[in-house]
């Protein structure tokens, strides 16, 4: 099996879609000659030309809105944002427009577009450049939200997202672009709305997505050394959430910890843990546990920023404090 980085897997998925589907085109800042702020679209302009790989002015509202219009007009636009934080400038087009179009037109109009954006903190980009708004967008009815943490899922989810007839937010963990892994040469898809059990275990269920996954793998190793067997689950999809896989796991382990590298308060893991409390309370050995980043703006100073982010010590510490593991 070929080994790809997440960056290469996304590029492959875009290349393949441009190659096979004439209705697909890309828009975004610096995606052409420059190949994208994170080098995801490198080489695509040369291959497909400026009509299908379009550099935009710094006008998120315009090019997200144009994406909505082009999708309504029958195409399948893929829009790249330079940062999830900059989605705010186009939020009206995403939340009020793309998400509502189908419902509010009684099913007459659809907006099958993909909005890709790097997300997450940890790179000293400070408050207005480090936020993870996929967790806000996951609450919006009419949108799909996915967030891969491996090259396999990045490619599989991108394929499903491009085919999807609803608008999809495709959140790319900025710190994981270089992460590599095996990706089958034969065609496959990863369906939207399916979580993945990445490591099985019996004593506790650990749940996260994106940047949280490497922290969970590290935590599972620490726990294993203590004789605790953790089941690790990657949500992969924040909307819809694959509740079935989560419930099955918690019914088996009786303990659950959900980790978010975005702010803890009001985050996606609040939804996950509340759902598990509702549906698995008879199986739980103690309260559901939720960990997230500190609820302050992301600071530039490295120590402060790293101190805001949860780590494996927080995970194992909370598990022993809550469940005596």
């Amino acid at each position: 099996m070929p080994t790809l980085t997440i960056r290469e897997a996304i590029r492959l998925g875009l290349d393949e879609a441009l190659e096979t589907d004439p209705s697909v085109f890309l828009m975004g800042e610096d995606i052409g000659t420059y190949g994208g702020a994170y080098a995801v679209t490198a080489g695509l302009l040369e291959k497909y030309g400026p009509d299908r790989v379009r550099d935009t002015p710094i006008s998120e509202a315009a090019f997200i809105g144009a994406g909505v219009g082009a999708a309504a007009g029958g195409l399948r636009p893929i829009v790249e944002l330079m940062s999830m934080s900059f989605a705010l400038v186009g939020f009206d087009q995403i939340v009020n427009m793309a998400a509502n179009l189908r419902y509010m037109s009684g099913g007459q109009i659809k907006a099958p577009m993909v909005i890709r954006a790097p997300t997450g903190a940890g790179m000293q980009l400070a408050a207005t450049h480090s936020q993870s708004f996929e967790t806000w967008l996951a609450e919006v009815p009419g949108l799909r939200v996915v967030a891969p943490s491996t090259p396999y899922d990045a490619l599989g989810l991108l394929r499903s997202s491009i085919k999807e007839d609803n608008p999809v937010i495709y959140a790319e963990s900025a710190g994981l672009y270089g992460a590599s892994g095996e990706t089958p040469a034969e065609y496959y898809e990863v369906p939207i709305g399916s979580a993945k059990v990445c490591r099985s275990g019996d004593d506790a269920t650990l749940i996260s997505y994106g940047h949280g996954m490497p922290i969970l793998y590290e935590s599972a190793e620490i726990l294993a050394a203590r004789g605790v067997s953790a089941e690790v689950i990657d949500l992969r999809s924040l909307s819809p959430i694959d509740t079935g896989v989560l419930v099955d796991s918690v019914q088996k382990t009786g303990r659950v910890l959900a980790l978010d590298t975005a702010r803890r308060s009001g985050g996606i893991m609040a939804e996950v843990t509340a759902t598990l409390q509702e549906q698995t309370s008879d199986w739980l050995d103690g309260p559901v546990v939720r960990i997230g980043a500190k609820c302050a703006p992301w600071p530039y100073n490295r120590e402060m920023e790293q101190g805001s982010l949860p780590d494996a010590q927080d995970v194992t510490g909370m598990l022993s404090a809550t469940y005596d593991l």
Binding site: D30, Y34, D55, V89, Q124, M304
Partner: protein, 346 residues
């Protein structure tokens, strides 16, 4: 708020200097002082770029190529009463306003004692306790509507004769915020000076793919106020255009848009590689009209400075940069435990 020069040193002027042909409001000493700030800015800028390569500064956006436009626009205003909303490329403007090299370095290195934000804010963003400036967002263009509000506050408080200058790039001019701010300022004839540093690029995207017109200044007509375009490598031209704009605004003439055409000599930031989208020829041409060289030549031709004067200005700047670097590196990092401080009113 007080006005300081960036070096606090006496200027060295060739004795034959006279105010010959200088724009109104500029004298020989002032002009040399502007050049001194440009040199200091260039050397400090080179130093932080290097510090990024050494892993000490997380990210740097350089002002190299923008120095003349920045120093002249600040000089044409009155920092003791005007308001400055800047953007992330304004190293030189910050120095000209009185932010010290040590303070700027503390910002890049996120050291304790950084006065803009206690090391919380992205370098070259923030506000300053001694200088009336602010700049808050990485999201480009947000400062334009804010500037309109600062000017509106002056108007509502009956505070007359103050100008709010807001700086932005050609790329930021494509944001809805830019249009909305200019329209609002135009309607209410607010005392705002919109100052665009047009370097022809939004990161890698050249002007032709950002706008269908050749200059940002022409847009002003659509908002009902004047727009002028000047060569931003020519300190005197920028000074004159900005001064005229400020005079007109102070006389309650409503907003003005000044566009300075400049070159961004380096990549967009330390994360960028501009050879991917600029030819060696283009880069060479830009270097051939470096505002530092243009200004040095102009000052010598006007006999405002001689070669020795130039040399000693450079030596002095080098000394200041080394001194500030040593001091900044020796400072501790702030207490990470103070994470929640300043989140809410205490």
């Amino acid at each position: 708020m007080g006005k300081m020069n960036s070096t606090g040193r006496e200027t060295q002027i060739a004795s034959s200097a006279g105010p010959a042909g200088l724009p109104d409001g500029l004298d020989a000493a002032g002009v040399v002082e502007m050049y001194r700030t440009m040199i200091l800015s260039r050397m400090l800028d080179e130093r932080v770029w290097l510090m990024n390569r050494q892993g000490k500064a997380a990210i740097v956006a350089s002002a190299q190529g923008h120095e003349a436009a920045q120093v002249a626009s600040v000089r044409a205003l009155d920092p003791s009463r005007d308001h400055f909303l800047i953007y992330y490329r304004q190293f030189t403007a910050m120095l000209a306003l009185g932010v010290t090299p040590l303070e700027l370095l503390c910002g890049f290195l996120a050291k304790s004692g950084e006065p803009m934000s206690e090391a919380r804010q992205f370098p070259l963003h923030g506000s300053h306790p001694r200088v009336d400036l602010f700049s808050f967002s990485n999201v480009v263009g947000t400062q334009l509507p804010q500037a309109v509000g600062v000017a509106l506050a002056d108007r509502l408080r009956g505070d007359q004769g103050r100008v709010t200058i807001v700086y932005f790039g050609d790329g930021a001019a494509s944001q809805g915020d830019c249009h909305e701010a200019m329209n609002f300022a135009g309607i209410h004839r607010l005392p705002v000076l919109f100052f665009c540093e047009n370097n022809g690029y939004a990161t890698s995207v050249p002007l032709q793919r950002q706008m269908a017109v050749e200059s940002v200044a022409v847009r002003a007509a659509g908002y009902g106020f004047p727009g002028v375009s000047v060569d931003g490598r020519d300190m005197f031209a920028v000074y004159q255009a900005t001064k005229d704009a400020a005079d007109s605004i102070r006389a309650e003439g409503g907003p003005v848009l000044v566009e300075a055409k400049v070159d961004r000599l380096l990549p967009h930031t330390t994360d960028d590689d501009h050879t991917l989208y600029r030819s060696p020829d283009d880069i060479g041409q830009m270097r051939g009209r470096d505002p530092i060289d243009v200004t040095s030549r102009a000052l010598r031709e006007r006999r405002l400075m001689d070669e020795d004067g130039d040399k000693s200005i450079r030596q002095e700047a080098r000394r200041l940069v080394i001194e500030a670097t040593d001091r900044a590196e020796a400072l501790p990092y702030p207490d990470a435990e103070a994470m929640y401080r300043h989140l809410y009113a205490e």
